[in-house]
Amino acid sequence: MPLVHFGVEPREDANLLPLLLWGATESVPCGGENLEWNAAGEAGGGRGRRLNRRRSRRWCVNMPQRTLCRWVRNAESVRVLCPVACFVAAGVFGAICLLSPLRAWSGEDKPPNIIFILTDDHRWDALGILGHPVVQTPTLDRLCRDGVRFENAFVTTSLCSPSRASILTGQYAHTHGVKNNLTPWKNENVTFLELLKQAGYDTAFIGKWHMPGALPDLRGVDRFISFTAQGGQGQYFHCPLIVDGRETPSRKPYITEELTDYALEFISRERENPFCLVLSHKAVHHQFQPPPERAGIYRDKDLPLPAEADTWISMAPDLLYCGLIGPLERTYRNYMETLYATDLEIGRIVESLQEEGIAGETVVIYFADNGFLLGEHRLMDKRWPYEESIRVPCIIYDPRRKGAGGRTAEQMVLNIDLAPTMLEMAGLPVPAGMEGRSMLAYLQGDGAPGRRAWLYEYFRDFPYRVPDMEAVRTERYKYVEYRGRKADELFDLAKDPGEKRNIIRSPEGRIVLPELKAELEALRKGDGT
């Protein structure tokens, strides 16, 4: 049952009463300051809070109410005061239980389990359900059919580390500080996992962390499984893991399968609390390596390569870093084969929900940290502000919302919206510091208005020669301001969805440009729409 366990340790040298009074007068529900997590427990209801014994002792010595201490030690006083104090303490305890988010879950108000699956470099259109001519994604298609697919989902920075930090914090890169793959994560950043943990969720982060510096002592997670190999990118085969701070050799050769196994272990634990699992895959990050049994399955498929691309577009100088040197066709097939393999592993997660009997109370959210250009604009990689790079698949499957299945939401949603969404799902308030907004209203399908425009930002990431930029993306236009020599760009996405024609100097462009500039300026100042 519940996790509320105020495990008060009795002091040997003092009457219990002052301690009860201390608890009644000084402990603040959720205050955190006067309470210390008992991190010993993992799953189940045994976890609770334990009063800090040292602080209790210090209170008796230092607090102004010292005289009260002396008075209550008097036996006669205790006899008189004890029933009253116990009554007051019980009342306060009850109030704490009622007010605290750390409370017992009853069947109806129990918030859902949340499984958030994050993949890497998965561009928005690489889904079987969208009619992609090569890749099959049976699991994601099924989630789309049973859940809601967000047609216009974007990332505010198309790069792994900043985007992942944005997802965890609900903030833009310029706010959370992880601006590129070289700037470290700040430990003071608050993640949605931390807030869910405070609300009583069992939590786990499993998979790619990939933010510069050592793995953090991440607050608010019961399980933290990640890797630091290859600068935090991990490797597709035989990737050593760090399981709750301990280096652990890989148990399975292929990383996607390995991470899925750990996720299944977490899901299958017996517990009474709801749980939130972040399963953060390395796949389908370049170098796009499928497992042996999937390698070559798309060998004979005709590929829908963009007209401006060619076989050797991958010889561009900076692509050697990505390990993409070689014919574009080979890279493309590897990408799709890796994606298919990842989809099948996600299928194991979805199947497990049925087996565990929690399918009806578990929300599954699928998102990618950024897209990937596969020859469009004669580019490969992400970073750039073009649609293939910034637009990602976003699916929310919520079994509690009957009738929403198979719907497509048109509102523009962002990676910074995920944290607020998950908090709202758990019935928690969204902190003011989060810059995203919850997507829950869009799940209903009643035409809740979405944002009109949003800010895209990119900060240089040596040695990739992509300049700093800021852009505003509206439903119709995209205006990009580059730092340095590269000319600014303006695209009419309604007439030119491929962003082939920069209209910034055209008559039409001149008409809309001032408004877009003003919009960008407002977004920079945080007055976004």
Partner: protein, 193 residues
């Protein structure tokens, strides 16, 4: 002047250095320009053919330019430095172009450091390696023609030849290139952050 060139007529600077250098540079620039613009014609079949001929060909030509420039310069009496410079023409042009582009994004110091990233080092060492092969071939040919060549096999060209495979291993084979990349990135952090 090379000690091996004593029996060769030493031609003018234009003939022994500028001509071989300009020739390979022109070939490389032509291939690159055609490749970069072929897609604008909107003819997929042509574009694909051009991508193989001029795209892949242009990339390979940077490293293989010594096969043309080096013998031309050698048999026109060019000194080793002139032969090397003529052979490195396409690489140097490409390198300067890429570093200039980088300077538009990064600081000058970062742009120079960028110029020493693995693709440029790899390209440089492959070119040097091919120069080593050319030197041995030229010596052998000259010796067969009765020229005053000492030993064909000497340490310098052999070392030059070996530099290519060694660089390829360290830069792109070792850990799929990732190990070197992260060492390079550590260097960047030490210098610029």
């Amino acid at each position: 002047m090379s000690r091996f060139a004593t029996d060769l007529e030493r031609r003018s600077l234009a003939a022994r250095f500028l001509f071989p250098a300009a020739l390979v540079l022109l070939i490389w620039v032509s291939m690159t320009t055609v490749y970069d613009n072929a897609w604008k014609l909107g003819m997929p079949a042509l574009q694909e053919a051009v991508s193989w001929l001029c795209g892949l060909g242009g990339e390979l030509f940077r490293g293989l330019a010594p096969l043309i420039a080096y013998p031309l310069a050698y048999f026109r009496g060019a000194a080793p430095a002139e032969r090397a410079a003529a052979s490195l023409g396409p690489f140097l042009a490409w390198w300067l172009l890429q570093v200039t582009v980088a300077a538009g994004v990064f600081s000058s110091g970062e742009a120079v450091y960028y110029g020493f990233s693995q693709n440029y080092l790899l390209s440089l060492f492959v070119t040097v390696s091919v120069m080593g092969v050319c030197e041995l071939i030229c010596r052998w040919v000259r010796k067969r023609r009765g020229g005053a060549v000492g030993k064909v096999w000497t340490p310098a060209p052999v070392a030059a030849i070996l530099s290519g495979p060694v660089a390829a291993f360290v830069l792109i084979v070792w850990g799929g290139g990732v190990h070197w990349f992260y060492l390079y990135q550590e260097g960047y952090k030490l210098l610029f952050r």
